[in-house]
Symmetry: C5
Subunit: 354 residues, 5 copies
């Protein structure tokens, strides 16, 4: 069972904005990468000290501050302080158990969603929390781990591919969300492959482990759907113009992301219905196999029971049993048994019992 709840026990009654590492977790220094661009210019900087962010506060053009490693609480806190982010947002960025949501604050929006990875070795699905802050033309993104999911976007900015250099921070946010949602399709494809393999196994030779794999798969689908629905709502609000920081010309792009999330959700729900049907097939296959065995064995037993009864009769010790003295008694008895056996087999065959 996937661990869902992270401990908040230590948290009960704490004032809002309280941030702390989970016990046993090690803080890793965050990496801060800042990309600045407009139609004409482009620059990419790696900074060490969060305080250096301050000079990007009033920069012209689009500024994208990407922070890897949300366990580095001092850095995150410093960045939030510089951009005057609400303490509750700070808490949400660091608490990795957030459900996807978007909150509008004065002058900026905060949104958080989930990134999915497939762990290479175990093929388990890993979940990483992503947070974004859009403040005018500045986008700040927070990642749990370093990942290469945003590198194609960095390239598009650097090499001025598509519209990205011509548009503002809201378009950058769109591009980042689009990359995240497109990545869901990769996960969905893997799940589909797993389902196909499982279906083959279930149809050919159902095994005990199949049920566990099926259950595992169903739980994964429950999780995915759980993350996708609020993501859909967030993107929907941005697509339908409910968020003032998203400019009109970006709506149509957000609508595209929205369509993709809808597609992911519908695929997940279709998978869930198929998985339910697979359980029926699994149970029925198993049952059929068991029944086939029992039927075979019972038929064997049933054929021999009357024969054994006949041997029993001629094994009795009555003094006066004329058949025993007959010359052909034994061969006749054997033949009788043979005939009975054949008749029964024919009868069972005709009844299609085996």
């Amino acid at each position: 069972m996937r661990k869902i709840v992270t401990s908040r026990s230590s948290h009960v009654g704490a004032p809002p904005g309280t941030v702390s590492l989970k016990s046993g977790e090690k803080s890793r220094p965050a990496r801060i990468n800042i990309i600045q661009y407009d139609k004409d210019k482009y620059s990419s900087t790696e900074i060490k000290d969060a305080a250096q962010c301050r000079r990007y506060r009033e920069a012209s053009g689009v500024t994208w501050i990407n922070i890897d490693g949300i366990s580095d609480i001092p850095t995150i806190t410093e960045v939030c302080r510089i951009f005057e982010i609400h303490p509750l947002v700070l808490e949400d960025i660091i608490n990795i158990n957030q459900r996807p949501k978007m909150d509008e604050y004065e002058g900026y929006i905060y949104l958080t969603t989930k990134m999915l990875y497939e762990e290479e070795k175990t093929r388990n699905i890993l979940i990483e929390q992503l947070s974004f802050i859009l403040m005018g033309d500045t986008v700040i993104s927070f990642q749990e781990r370093e990942g290469d999911i945003f590198s194609p976007i960095r390239e598009r900015i650097e090499q001025d591919i598509g519209f990205i250099r011509k548009r503002g921070g809201d378009y950058l946010l769109y591009a980042l969300l689009d990359a995240v949602v497109d990545n869901y399709f990769v996960i969905i494809e893997n799940i589909e492959d797993n389902m196909q393999a499982l279906e083959n196994s279930v149809l050919k030779e159902p095994r005990n482990s199949d049920l566990r794999r099926l259950q595992h798969l169903k739980n994964d689908l429950v999780f995915l759907r759980r993350y996708m629905w609020p993501t859909r709502d967030i993107v929907g609000r941005m697509a339908h113009g409910d968020v003032s920081l998203i400019k009109g010309e970006t709506h149509v792009f957000m609508r595209d992301v929205y369509d993709h999330t809808m597609q992911v959700i519908e695929t997940i729900e279709t998978f869930q219905e198929i998985a339910t049907g697979m359980l029926d097939i699994y149970l029925s296959s198993l049952n059929n196999r068991m029944n086939a065995i029992m039927k075979f064995l019972t038929i064997i037993a049933t054929i021999f029971i009357p024969l054994t009864f006949i041997t029993g009769i001629y094994g009795m010790n009555f003094h006066y049993m004329p058949e025993l003295g007959w010359r052909w008694g034994y061969p006749v008895a054997l033949s009788l048994m043979l005939i009975i056996a054949v008749v029964m087999i024919v009868y069972f065959k005709k009844k299609k019992w085996f």
Copy 2:
């Protein structure tokens, strides 16, 4: 299991409007057919070069540009460029994994839905993506494959049957959608035939393969419903006047299409409920058959067990067993066994055990 997701792996992070063929897919040159008509005149042209479309941009009367073969990306791209279609629409036309939807843009609407065919040999249901662009009185339709579904409409235009020559591009769009939705009924009828055949098989003599067929059928129904719901929404918006390009007098026709989609959906959902009941019957039938066999065999065994016990008794080698020396011992023993067998059979019959 039907393949649902087409790979988007190569797509993650790509700028909007990126179009590419799936690996392994071959591009086929598109066929472009242009029909132009109004109350008085009619012309039908086949063009080779997408660029020739340009002169139809400002033509009077209704123009219907039908393009077969969306894998011919250069042609599609050229057409979209000529009509100044948004790059996201271009992407949607070519990506055949779109869910049915309608997007309004300035000056035109884009809508995509699914066409269903039954493959003749395998009787599998094939899904083809259809896209339509309505721009004033110009309708551009994109088909995956060449098909004859729109030929009756071509005839109606050519021979001036019904209202079609008297109305505008929105009515043409209605006529095309109506043909698509009417075609769903053909698929639904086939499914109904399959269900009826399956029901008969399940009731008469349930087989292992029936469950698989049932599951296949249920999955097909899940897919159909999945495509129909958004189609219903699209048509509903056009029927209820939410789309300015659809004129008032066409609403009542769209409402008719809407009623048909509703009917398809309700039929699908009814089928789903019936299919669920069929699973119960299947499992119960199978169980009954198995039970009948086991009962028969167990009864056989039960009848012979006491008889064999009696033969066992008189097969014992005690020196002093008076019955063994009796003149009528053997026939009496045989009769006793017969009586026991008859009594048991009568008892079982009376209890209606077989």
Copy 3:
């Protein structure tokens, strides 16, 4: 399985308003009955020629044109032409596979619903399509077959019972709908009787056929609910003043019909929940019976197995088996077997195994 879909294959791509008989169906000449009344006068005429309807177009008072037999396409078409009915309505009247709906057109409303009959011999539920057109104070009703369901209303009009002669065409429409909905209760009562009979059978002695009957019943309920929901919506719209042709004073009567449809729907849904529970009882009853049999037989076998083992021991041919030579060997062995059998029976009884 009830046939749900009527073939539309020949219909794909046909222009709206196309009407045609299903193959194999024979056209029957329609009967047209016209009743005209107001506070003071009443007349009832049977006409032969649809063209005669024309003079009722502008008649004063309430006119009720009842047409039996919608397979007489020329007549229906003629009537629709006289009253300037939209071609789509004509198509809907004749296509008997309509789902219940109401469409408002300029100057008139069209509504169609289902009438349910129980076929006397087979006790199957038959479904007939009814269509109504309300145009000012003129009501045109279309029935598939001749039926006596509206005769009480004819009597009420003729004998001036209740309000009917004092009110307009909308009240007449209410009276007709009320008769239709009241008739559903007759069907519902029959279903209830069937369910009660089935429940008794399932509880006393579950049979294979019960499951089929139950499934049949469930499918019937699915169908009924499917027809009732849209009927409820239609009546609801007329009750809540959304339809301008229904005058304010008739709203309260429509609300009454609305309450009745709600009651029918809730009863159907209650039946569905009860039917689901019945399936559990059926399966469990069947299982219990089977288990009881198997248990009985297995116990018989289990009692005899050790006894037969003992006979086997004393059937062995060892030379030195002192018991065989004992004077009381045989009676002791028999007694031993008796004691074992009794002990086992007592043990099984005490364990409540049979």
Copy 4:
């Protein structure tokens, strides 16, 4: 199965306001009790003749006319005539198969709901229909049977307890509804006791009858929920100010009744979920018991089968079987069998098969 539908067969096509007794039902003369009060005065009268109600039409203060026995159609009709009640309301009051509803008419509201009793002997739940008319400060209540449910309210009026004497007819209506809803809790408690008893039985020793009791219980819950939902809606509308006859100061009291109906509904739904779980436990318990028996018996059989085989071997009549002539052949064979039996028992024990 509880009888849900009362026959309306005789009713089809009858004009609205038609009231008639069900066949087999005897009319009982109604008892009319009239209580009149305001801050200062109180009077309670029993009247014989419905016509006497007339003088209470324009009385000052609050008038509560309570009528026991709705089968006395002439009296009910007379009362409705005096207060100018719509014929449809009259029909609804007498037809005891009404679903809970509230209808607003000019100058008065009509509402009907269900009263639940537990029959003392059979512990079945009886359902009685209650109707109320609120017309200014006059409340008319119609009960199917005489009951003592409203006596506490009579006392509160007589002895001037709480607000009741200080408020108007709408507060009286609230008090009556509150008594009705509070009474549901009594029923709910009884159901809870039944469920607890049933759960104990199912866990300890599942019996055939338990399933029937469970099904009975589930059906009762379905009925209760069916009555509660519309009751909730009625009370909700009165609580939220949608009903002009309910004054503002009474809203908060209606809100309290509303909370109680919500609580009843949620409890019912919780019970339904628990009952579903109980079915799983029942089936699983039954299965376990059956399995335990079969396992025991099969193990017995399995132990003896190899032993009997050995006796069979030494029961063979071959002339040259050296073991037969051995001095210790018999004891050795017996010991061998004992050893085999012990080994098998130990093996089964170790495998935890019994």
Copy 5:
């Protein structure tokens, strides 16, 4: 089964505001703790006599009156009288079977929700009712039992941590609710641990008791969800500005609590889906174990049945059975049996039957 309904039998027909102890419940004197604070000052007082509350009615700054022990009816009544609380609220505070709700009255809001504890010994979940009244900057909280859940908040007030001293009564209410909701996570974590333990047990070696534990768990989840949904609605209304007593600057904090309740609800619902899957695994595991046993035993029986038949043949007493006289008859017969047994075992192995 958890007891859901508390007896209201004695309550039917009682006037609103009637409060009484349940029979068998002992009244415990309430503890009243009053904390008063603003930016600059802080005081905490324990009072004995409820009447002393009166002087805090018009106090400046924020006043938090915490009352432990709602069974002390006179005290609660007195407090409500002093603050002019509506009698219905008084009734709701004392009746511990309230569902979570918020009612707005003139000048104050009343809200009640549930606090969850895990009883240390039995690890059962205990439910305690909490009520809050917010009247301007005065918060009155009512607890069933003394608990330490609010002590961190007392500390935050005393030591001026976070915003709490700078804000009004609505922020205090937020802080209290936040502590309550955070506490739900503790319960949820415990449930998760239970589920994980149960899953391991079910997968390794399913036991009878597992089903009961699972059912217990499912019922607990039903209860939790039942309490969470209305809590969510209450917090949602306060977060979205529907409650005028909650100032704008507190909305964002309430929104945070709202997010947490959503997270709790989604976790509960995920648990419910997982628990349903666990039932499938449990039943299937049990079935597999049973099948394995039966299969093993049946195979044993099936192998010995033909062997026993052979011994039967050579146990027959026919005079002319040539094999009996053969020198090698016995060893050959034994070898034959061995061969048959080996062949059968090989066959079963190949078929993977054991």
